[in-house]
Symmetry: C2
Subunit: 263 residues, 2 copies
């Protein structure tokens, strides 16, 4: 979702390609396996026949290549370091904590809820009185953080809390971001996310495997809510087809760079 | 160590401040706790009264602020994305695998050894015939990867393998890097690292806590081999005192920026 939002903000036209199954290697497309043989994960951006993997790395790449379009990253090195710090904080701390909201029960879930709310308050504190984490402009840190918010409703229902009550300013920011086309066109309906989780939970009732639960929910950071249909939990490989900076892009089928060939 | 090497490569003068104990919060300095209240971890770079945390973020900051000096990062967005990808790969995969080489025994240690060697071969493959991961120049990816190599001798002794035999080209790269002042002045003697580990292992023989073992070894990615003395496993907070780009730096004691004040 991060990459989709960034591309929409930049006005970059892409050809999306969905993965039908991003969990079972045997069901993954040849394109994905060849493009990202190390992690075998989406998202992958293919540009000029080269692949770029990992959402944050793709965001930085997009901002560096399409410099003429709205900049996602501040030009100030300290602001850039600060944005990177909070994205790293989110990826390391909040993502794993959010997983526990799904994968655990009872006391463990309660502890995860407390920790999760504490993390949200840290973020709310970082937001302060600014309209966006990026300051006056919707920027990289906003793009990195906003996707998780489509799961807030589900977290609240399953773990019995209210983000609105705990972090009202953070929710103001969520509503502000959702007024942007790039966000509203990308994030799925929170109610559909919730319905999807309930369905998966039913199927998982007889399973003791937390990993299976996580995987089938499609609720790790890279995949949550990417799909409207319950049976499709894949995300996207995508190729830039509008290429305003670096010459014509190549075909998806020609995506075989030296690094990936060699592995 | 990454930050020290980068500063030496750039020729930036800094005032180092050692942490005597980076594991017990109660023993950490006020400066560290105030500078990095989120993670309470070293390294921290203090520049113009602002703190920058997390080694990779600090490296990018250094390269962006001191642009006149030798650039650590390629100007090409794809090369930058590629470097970020492999650093991310190292931090996510190799670091945790290396921990298992210490913290596990028997079959689990054997599996970790196999996985570790597989990762090294992936890196060797990425190096290819280039003198450095950065191509013709010692660059960001080299800086990020080289610190772990001072532990190779210890890994080999404890887990019975030879990096030289398994990955000869990677070892050529290690020797090439060690000919640089920035690296040789920063990395500790591998034999001293090994002696230190043996001493810690003796102390830990009666402990079942892997976390304690890891912590007391000082062998997480941020701390390994930073110290020459067995009883000192801390790393560094540092302040830039030569400031070629952005005006005079402030005193260490004045390091209180808004973000950290607020948390």
């Amino acid at each position: 979702m991060r990459v989709k939002i960034a591309l929409l903000e930049k006005g970059i036209e892409v050809q999306y390609k969905e993965e039908k199954d991003v969990f079972e290697d045997k069901n993954k497309s040849e394109l994905l396996l060849n493009s990202n043989p190390i992690h075998k994960k989406v998202p992958v951006l293919i540009h000029n026949g080269k692949t770029i993997c990992e959402s944050l790395i793709i965001l930085e790449y997009i901002d560096e290549v399409w410099k003429q379009e709205q900049q996602l990253f501040s030009a100030d090195p300290y602001c850039r370091a600060n944005a990177r710090f909070w994205i790293d904080f989110f990826d390391k701390k909040i993502t794993s904590c959010a997983k526990k909201l799904w994968a655990s029960k009872g006391e463990e879930q309660g502890a995860a809820k407390e920790e999760f709310l504490e993390f949200l308050k840290v973020l709310e504190n970082e937001l302060g009185e600014k309209p966006y984490f990026g300051g006056d402009h919707f920027a990289l840190l906003d793009i990195a953080l906003i996707p998780i918010t489509c799961r807030f409703y589900t977290y609240e229902k399953l773990c019995k809390f209210s983000v609105e009550e705990e972090c009202p300013k953070l929710m103001e920011w969520v509503r502000r971001c959702n007024m942007r086309d790039s966000v509203s066109k990308t994030l799925p309906d929170p109610l559909k996310v919730f319905d999807f989780v309930l369905e998966v939970k039913k199927r998982e009732e007889n399973s003791d495997s937390e990993d299976d639960f996580e995987a089938n929910c499609g609720f790790n950071n890279e995949n949550v809510g990417e799909e409207e249909e319950a049976n499709t939990v894949g995300q996207i490989a995508m190729e830039v087809i509008h290429n305003s900076v670096r010459g014509p892009s190549t075909s998806l089928l020609e995506n075989r760079n030296a690094r990936h060939k060699a592995l």
